[in-house]
Symmetry: C2
Subunit: 744 residues, 2 copies
Amino acid sequence: MASSSLPLSQAILSRSIPRHGSSSSTNSQFSPSSLSLPTFSGLKSTTSTTFRRRTLPSPVAVRSPEIRASAAVETLEKTDNALVEKSVNTIRFLAIDAVEKANSGHPGLPMGCAPIGHILYDEIMRYNPKNPYWFNRDRFVLSAGHGCMLQYALLHLAGYDAVREEDLKSFRQWGSKTPGHPENFETPGVEVTTGPLGQGIANAVGLALSEKHLAARFNKPGAEIVDHYTYCILGDGCQMEGISQEAASLAGHWGLGKLIAFYDDNHISIDGDTEIAFTEDVGARFEALGWHVIWVKNGNTGYDEIRAAIKEAKAVTDKPTMIKVTTTIGFGSPNKANSYSVHGSALGAKEVEATRQNLGWPYEPFHVPEDVKSHWSRHVPEGAALEAGWNTKFAEYEKKYPEEAADLKSIITGELPAGWEKALPTYTPESPADATRNLSQQNLNALAKVLPGFLGGSADLASSNMTLMKMFGDFQKNTPEERNLRFGVREHGMGAICNGIALHSPGLIPYCATFFVFTDYMRAAIRISALSESRVIYVMTHDSIGLGEDGPTHQPIEHLASFRAMPNVLMLRPADGNETAGAYKVAILKSKTPSILALSRQKLPQLAGTSIEGTAKGGYVTSDNSSGNNPDVILIGTGSELEIAVKAADELRKEGKAVRVVSLVSWELFDEQSAEYKESVLPAAVTARVSIEAGSTFGWEKIVGSKGKAIGIDRFGASAPAGKIYKEYGITAEAVIAAAKQVS
Amino acid sequence: MASSSLPLSQAILSRSIPRHGSSSSTNSQFSPSSLSLPTFSGLKSTTSTTFRRRTLPSPVAVRSPEIRASAAVETLEKTDNALVEKSVNTIRFLAIDAVEKANSGHPGLPMGCAPIGHILYDEIMRYNPKNPYWFNRDRFVLSAGHGCMLQYALLHLAGYDAVREEDLKSFRQWGSKTPGHPENFETPGVEVTTGPLGQGIANAVGLALSEKHLAARFNKPGAEIVDHYTYCILGDGCQMEGISQEAASLAGHWGLGKLIAFYDDNHISIDGDTEIAFTEDVGARFEALGWHVIWVKNGNTGYDEIRAAIKEAKAVTDKPTMIKVTTTIGFGSPNKANSYSVHGSALGAKEVEATRQNLGWPYEPFHVPEDVKSHWSRHVPEGAALEAGWNTKFAEYEKKYPEEAADLKSIITGELPAGWEKALPTYTPESPADATRNLSQQNLNALAKVLPGFLGGSADLASSNMTLMKMFGDFQKNTPEERNLRFGVREHGMGAICNGIALHSPGLIPYCATFFVFTDYMRAAIRISALSESRVIYVMTHDSIGLGEDGPTHQPIEHLASFRAMPNVLMLRPADGNETAGAYKVAILKSKTPSILALSRQKLPQLAGTSIEGTAKGGYVTSDNSSGNNPDVILIGTGSELEIAVKAADELRKEGKAVRVVSLVSWELFDEQSAEYKESVLPAAVTARVSIEAGSTFGWEKIVGSKGKAIGIDRFGASAPAGKIYKEYGITAEAVIAAAKQVS
């Protein structure tokens, strides 16, 4: 087992390494060595982690994996509310103190939601603080991400290594593990990256979908190897955002019974009372969406109400539950509670003191009282036991169901099955011409056969985006084991749900699709894919004026440029079958980067010289009749315009010119290559360069230089047959030839 | 009156001139001269338009302005349903025939919604076909824009000049006035640009808001000079989009009683039956949002049901109404109705023939039967009478209320009050340092005083974006005369609502605000501002890492580049007070272009050399110690980094260098300048150039050239105090100085 256990640990560790920026200027000082994993051997528990059940000083029952179902109930009855209150106030003051020290942040939500937070992390959720990546943990998402001090305080109390006292004291400071909004890539224990409102609840839908899907695929009678809840806290802001409606509508449709969302109903948003802009009946709306809705009227001190609501939510297994919890923002602050002033600023020394008085809190800043500390201390051994118990269970499962276990393990670790890339199709110039959207479907179907964690779908354009996996049915409420997702016309929710799927398990690889122009609808989710290192594959078809008659509302122009400018996104625009396969290969291999594939609606020929290997380099020579590294002119194309560059080259060569054709399928990948390689493709001495791309020329100066010429489109498209628009807009071989003669 | 009438006509005409692209390759052949205006003299009716009330051959009652309220009711009782059926089938076949001829388009919706369309345009709506821009017309928005042949057929029958038989025959062809989705800038009679789903209903909310606001401000007892309805058709796709939820929630909150939306409930979307992705209870959701909801169960032939529903909707004056109309997509097609195959493709010759048989339609393609033609022919004289009646009313109003009339006229014509620009504040280097978001508020408040059509607000960040107009209260259900809009956390809906406001009247100038990074949430709406020539002012604060602790989720990086690449958007990043004033001046003057102002959270000094005039040129020299046009090095900055360029220049000059500092506040405006001017600012001979901007360097090669250096940020931001991030990311004067020495 030792060898098979390695990838799991590696996968776990690799996910904790922050990426953004160079090491010299990384905004995190967290290194993998600081993450202490429990001493288990891969997926099996060993004697070294033997957990001795003991009677804890607190009256809270020990929860072992076996007594899971009854644990919550037992807890409800036995909890000592005075200690709970003390723990809740600890959370409040950790938030107050951290915001005060940073003189920046949002104390209001943590003060109001501390009771929910306490009950979730202390009484309800199953997790292992020493291995934040334990597969079967309950997931928690703070959709109202500005309230991150709530989550940091909870992670701290629960014993997560990422949030020690010094981390709380460096809240919102350079290099800290406690940034201004929750960031999964900075803070192990944080599942997703939130802050932009509404994203988190949609991520939570993706997490709950993943659980439902994996449970349906892998659980066996008596072996419920996948079994966790997804909890989420969202605020008024999240509720107003359209993305939350999209995601909630899908959650209801899919019947995600193990999704439990707390709506922090505090009646305050930044501009003041929600009365000024938000008077809809949220509960009735969610009922219309197929959710179970519960209202906890006293979220400030009604601990038993909150507990009872969670119990009720768990009993409803065929619907997600929204628990509307009416709270007071900034609860405990005598002068600022229930006002917007406590939302996003430090309380100020005077009000902090007044709040200490008001809540009877005699302690120094950042102090955790001993009894609270002691009460929470059981989560480390208990978490280790939970994981160990699960490891035992998995080992039995593996014996009985080796094939399923291998698939699930691949999903858990992110290790790709050996030889998966051989499934990718290849093409020769004799292969039939086809639209890259169709070639994409061939790849999707090939990958679906070899990648156990591959799943996805379209925003109601499956038959246009060509995204159906033919061997699978639809993921639906009653067929959750299937892998074709039907998102409806909900691009933004789709992207954020895919972020949740990608971050659920390292080996889940979601793809999602719409027309390329409608990335505008989901750009905020794509940006969070990039920031949170979510390997989502965006299958974006109809990628230019080449879609024709639908006209300018449907024709992307600036979109390629706009994503080339976005950090950590791989923008790929393949020209034919080989490049489409190459694009998928890279997209799968780049495990911490989302990829966007811009694909054609129109038929394209299979070109000579294209390759999977070339595609992986981002830019490469597809043909050249010059000798040495010194052509008369370099023609550079991407996607559907590479064909035009090739045609122009043929003509120019007939006239005796030495012409190189370069496919620049991905600028980001090309940028990653060595200076030597780049010089071999685009020699500095050759300034006669012409690029052609049916999109904005913005940014192309970098490639063609001041002496070259970029042919493109710097205005909106038009409604007409595609060929006509190409001609009228001058995206033609004739234009390339003329430009080549001009510059060379 | 002659002189004052001119601007109105001019304003009307100017709006009908298509813009996109150069005239040689414009995608429209429509010219202003082809728009025949009714012969009225400005806002006054003249004898030449005297309308003689006559008995029409059809049994439909003539509706004159005076009998408006009872007209709809009267119509309901008198309509000859056989002729209605024939008219409805005419609409269906015009759509079928046009799609068939184009072999491209969406016949399904027009076939299903023809009854709604007929009743609206023939029986309910008040409009003047010969002046599509008549101010007091009812507005119609086809949110399900793919069904545009419905609207083109209706405009054709009603007598609009833009859609003649030859226009129907050139549906979706190059240069036609009947593009693949409704485009206001191509087709007079189309109010807004739709196609991207959900935008239209949000535009309709903006149109209805405009009416409610203007009516509250300008109507007087006995002089209801502003009084129209806004109708909208939206489909399942629109309903699924989050933007429609955002807009609908606001419409309910604002109580837009004169907004009547028809939900084409046909159970089919592109991927098949809506059962696969859309099972929420839409009616219950809208009730939760504060709408009045009516269900018409037979939308295919239930004309009286539709009429009764509209009557009921009009009777509910304090809530918007959603009429859910259950229809059959592709109604009449024996083999394709009620299936996705009729949604977005031509029926095919065989099925067209079968449909002709099925609906008993013996006519040639594009034929309008004489009785139908005759029935519809009354709309031209009736429309002229409506307008003439309104002109008379307005003339009386103007006599009684000259001040109000002047303001309303400015809103109707778009003519700016003389000398308005004098209200803009100016600054000297001695003026106090301030954040450009605060300077922006000074401008907003100055403009609010002089521009009668100026209104706007923020997506729940008014106190951060600094967008409140202090002399006005909040536009709310019961205070609709006020001008501060409270959008809640609904960026996408906000943008699209502003598009509706901007397109309601040429002189309505909406602004809206959020953090710059959250343009990602509303990008689809901003793109439609650009495409549809909507002068929306996007006030986008917190425009860089300079916002500090909130971290990378809140820090824009690629956003400047992404908008510089978008056609017809003015991206402005002012550096101080004078540039902020200059940015507002340009934003107001560019009446067919949206502007985005990127504004700082942090304090910035008032710089020497900045000016409103320089800003208008997009790029200009703010200081230079060289002689001739030949500095040693040019330092180029934007926004908050111009200060850094200035500091670096000061240091370099101390060392004896001849340094020019250029502010590049707007690339688009600079591009518009003459080659001579551009050369005078950035002489080709000076290749030693350094740019500094706290954002992506993507695109800067165009400015600094291959020998220059662009200082910027090509990764995500970080959570820390702003000064610390600037330092760690190397956005400093030291970095500029080092780069300057390197390149010069």
